[in-house]
Assembly symmetry: D2
């Protein structure tokens, strides 16, 4: 039997057993060992983000390949041969391949009009049932993006690939048009502000630093996060407790950026006033990346004149294309000694405690919560 | 004596005489023959946009060079020698050359932190007094961008260079990152919506068509403008009278764009709800250019989630760098037979009637109003 | 029986009969009505470009859908439902979907490491045999990119979609980084030189003009082509007969571009000295697109200092991703009244005369040769 | 009296005395304390690169402001007030401000058509004579780009700003179009090869690493340089002695890049065969930056088909715009503890030994040679 945490109704997450079955002809079976709690999980759990139920949640997972059917393409996305027992991380998005975006903007397959995502859209009402990471076994489709772990990378760190992909893709939106030699886009010595220092915000700042940004400035209200951000290379962290007024924060950011405002501001709070603040933190001709509002948190008053006067780019970033997981792995491998990735996962939970993990994440009691299999 | 229309107080524009003087050592004297009424002129006139007074207004002018002092560089910006009597159009912005933007982002000299603009910031309280286009003689600084008219181009059309520069620069903001072959940026067959069909809006659509966009769709409420837009190559014009609801307009735009929304939306109305509508008209991964809000017209409610879900670029465009006037002249020369530029100027006024010209523009009684010297 | 022109050995193209079969479960059957002769066809025919034989050649085809098996996805790439008898044009490249380029640079699927192309790599040794356009019936794979013809577009013009895709993709390579407002990339009033005025070169210049380039200058040696280029909107055509020296041509191009050289030069001759000449025709900071050398025509002496001094971008363009066919159709539809596309096809041949068509193309006796079915 | 090393004829560099004069009204006087030997200095010295003589050479200098005339703008390029005794580094290029490039592509002022450069074009035949860094006092023009040293940065390191500007600008050419999330341009985890590990090559690799590149691979033949490159963060260095064949180096680079070739190759050797090799080292769709050939070192055989097949960008990089010095200072400040910048300067010379310094650089006996004032 397979054990999995199943969302059966809003607020109701139950550990359930499912029958184990042989992998389908073109499918594979994975034993997820680590599954991070995403910021959207509490929204699904609470019903704020509607999903089809029953659902085995969990979409930030890494694990071990247990087996596959004869038609499963046993290669990872780089063409590396896969063997039973191999540790892999999974790009959890399945784009349709035939909609307008998949055909004509394939680099933006994150915009696929008929997408499926493990742990979010793939419900548990039909065999083989388990398509989410809060489980001890799950079933993979043949077109799934599998990435064999690079040498030396642990499954725990690999399970951070999804939030790092979110963060790096958001940041990389600000690179266009790629002329840092003319002040256009990110490059050496460009200033970056990250608003909101959850796991994705911290990874974004760490990545910005790793790409040459200077200074990297973080803003949050939770001391544990501010402290963690410092450990991940932020040059300055601004505490909402100490700088409660927007004007205060703007003043500090300007003082760190020759009075101009930041070259790049990445909004990762997800509350409308934070977006309004972005436009005060950025310099003229700079770039604001809006990532935080994955769910609907209402509106803010915007004066479009600010956009005109700033001659600014405001760049939405929605999730990421699967290829970005490759960037995550490159990042984790390169900086595993510079950054304390292990410590980012401040709280781990057993599979039986998935509900607590989600609640701890919801209540912001941890930086990153992760569900880990007892094996 | 020089005659000029002088703003002495909000709502008070007087025809005044100033003493004529020899050109300064490093300056020149221009006889402006045509000066367009810009959409900002009524804002200055009414006091909505604060300016130093007294002020000779008028910043969309072309004219004839009357003479210059011995140290004036008698070449246009392309290095062409200038002679007395030459017809020129003037890039009316004087950037400082030494602020952060002038130094480190010189391609964005429109962001100059210490800018002067003929007819806007250069008041008439000190000799030689006249620095605006609503006059029969004005004085030029040595660093002024002068463009000799291309063969066959009339001074009247040349006076359209400023609004065309505004429009083309706004549109060209949407070209980045320049990969139309991958659906990124403008190219052949990309759909463009222009909201607001004043002179700049119409020129923007005409330019979009001239750059291969298809379809080019315009939205406005004034029949005269809708009709003019059709004459300038718009494929479709949507009348607010006929399609009063946002949802109606969204539906039509989608029906013209494979159900997706437009690749590019350029907001040139300058009213906050129009900006909010932009985000409903654009496709996912598309580009919204916000140009219309040159002045403060208040706020609109924005849900940042829309920006995220759309994975969109929102690009502010503030005025233009002087080099863009070169684009205007290239556009006017190339398409003078395809487009009825003469007819865009629906109303002309004598210098003595400058006030009426501004009021007619304010009251949207014309497409383009222009003050023309009686000589 | 299906009739098809089969390459059985270099220089040997035979009209052969193949048994007709029902469409495979997931395949379709097309009746190609028009198939253009590509510049590479003579290279395959002569053995200069090695291909697996026997081979039904022809990869620039449009035709009518005759039927399909139950698992064939009967929608075109825009999601439009397909019906028997529908006229379609075919994106003839089948990328593998799983190599590095297909996964990590899907916008460059033209670089697929395991590609198949109708009429080039898909041989005729196994059923259903016919996978090329010089035939009266051919078989399509399920993942084939089908484009339903836009209203009013003839199959004959649609068969030009492939060379137009080659040309527009090459030209669009020069748009990056998409800041025409700062002189970076193509935009209104940018000067474009096209070296080599075969069908692709002419289409490239026509597209450049349609995207606002000015002037558009062509260079070739064949009077028929020079004349045709003029009809497709080139502002100037330079005849190698009249301007035999490179220096002569450079002088003329500079005289048309303020003494600077062209903003963009597209090399479509395919002879090494033409590439060397590109670097003399382009301005500093401009863009050279190298497209012509699809086959190996040897080397030229290059001084890398020229690349440094010019601060230039040299951009290779290899074929095109299938999405570019959409651009072709948009172009054909938009400009079918501005440009004499019909006349570009100077010579048509019956299927029985495919060999002559290829030889006429090889000997440059025509602008565009096309094989047309007698039905 | 001012002492300066003057080039009076090819191969003849003499220590000469010039009269000291008060700073001109709008000029300033600088005491250069450190002046690096650029790779072009030996070319000027030998006569390979023609310059007007007599000439005080030296264009990589930092020093102390001694005084200025009343009209000298006593602010650095960031607007910081300057005081006598301030340590500054000088952007040694003076662009004309009025040519086509200065006006229409001001972000490429390195292409200025009427440029002057301290130590290269500004001869010593007229008062105040000394305009080069191999001197103990020199005179500055008012429009000179001065950068006050950031806190903690020594004059010695600041004198590295010029080669770092060369290297980072070259590297930053490869960032366009700024979509690392789609594999287009540089970003986290992109592979970079630097051919030629002189001071600029080493700084380029160090900067690439600092911008997230991985792996960073260097190629050279001189053991001292290879060793230094390792100390500056290169992941792999390939010795021409150990890998004498191009094929060997290609094989190793491919083995480090999933068999594909590098995302970015920067050619900094300046010998034609190195450029030819670039095209073998780069992956399809990648970027080659050609920087090395600042002087004429002859030609290499190029097959343009390689450019087509690779769908590659080849990007020339000529010197740098002055703004790039700001990037250098940001780089030096940020990484002064990560990288052993001091040690890059393997050899220092007194002013009297300037000739030896240039010869040592010519003979590649040092990594970086620098002339240091004895004060």
């Amino acid at each position: 039997m397979i054990r999995a945490a199943v969302l059966t109704a809003p607020g109701k997450l139950e550990l359930t057993s499912f029958p184990e079955s042989a992998p389908p002809r073109d499918g594979a079976v994975l034993r997820p060992t680590h599954c991070g709690v995403c910021g959207t999980d509490p929204h699904m759990y609470s019903g704020h983000l509607a999903v089809a139920m029953p659902l085995v949640m969990g979409h930030e997972f890494a694990g071990v390949l247990e087996g596959w059917g004869p038609d499963f393409p046993a290669r990872d996305v780089y063409g590396q041969e896969l063997r039973r027992g191999d540790a892999v991380v999974v790009g959890t998005t399945l784009s349709c391949g035939s909609c307008y975006y998949c055909r004509f903007l394939p680099q933006r397959q994150n915009l696929c009009q008929d997408v499926n995502i493990y742990g979010i859209t793939l419900g548990a009402s039909e065999p083989p049932y388990v398509r989410g990471g809060y489980s001890d076994l799950l079933y993979l489709f043949p077109q799934t993006w599998l990435f064999k772990l690079p040498p030396g990378l642990s499954l725990k760190l690999a399970a951070l690939a999804d939030p790092i992909a979110c963060g790096t893709r958001a940041l990389e939106r600000a690179f266009a048009p790629g002329m840092p030699w003319a002040g256009e886009g990110i490059g050496l010595g460009k200033s970056v502000v990250v608003q909101g220092l959850g796991p994705i915000g911290i990874m974004t700042g760490a990545a910005a630093r790793a790409m040459g940004a200077n200074p990297v400035i973080g803003i949050d209200r939770i001391p544990m996060r501010l402290e963690m951000a410092r450990r991940f290379g932020f040059d300055e962290v601004l505490s909402l407790a100490e700088l409660p007024g927007v004007g205060d924060r703007v003043r500090v950011v300007r003082s760190l950026t020759r009075g101009l405002g930041a070259d790049v501001v990445v909004e990762m709070v997800g509350l409308p006033p934070a977006f309004a603040e972005s436009l005060q933190l950025v310099r003229k001709g700079g770039r604001v990346v809006e990532f935080g509002h994955f769910t609907d948190n209402g509106t803010t008053a915007l004066n479009p004149q600010d956009i005109v006067n700033l001659d600014v780019d405001i760049l939405g970033s929605y999730a990421y294309p699967n290829a970005q997981i490759g960037t995550s792995l490159a990042f984790l491998s390169r900086y595993s000694e510079s950054y304390p990735f292990e410590d980012l996962v401040t709280h781990t939970f057993g599979e039986a405690d998935t509900e607590q993990a989600i609640e701890a994440s919801r209540d912001k009691l941890c930086v990153k919560a992760m569900v880990v299999s007892e094996s």
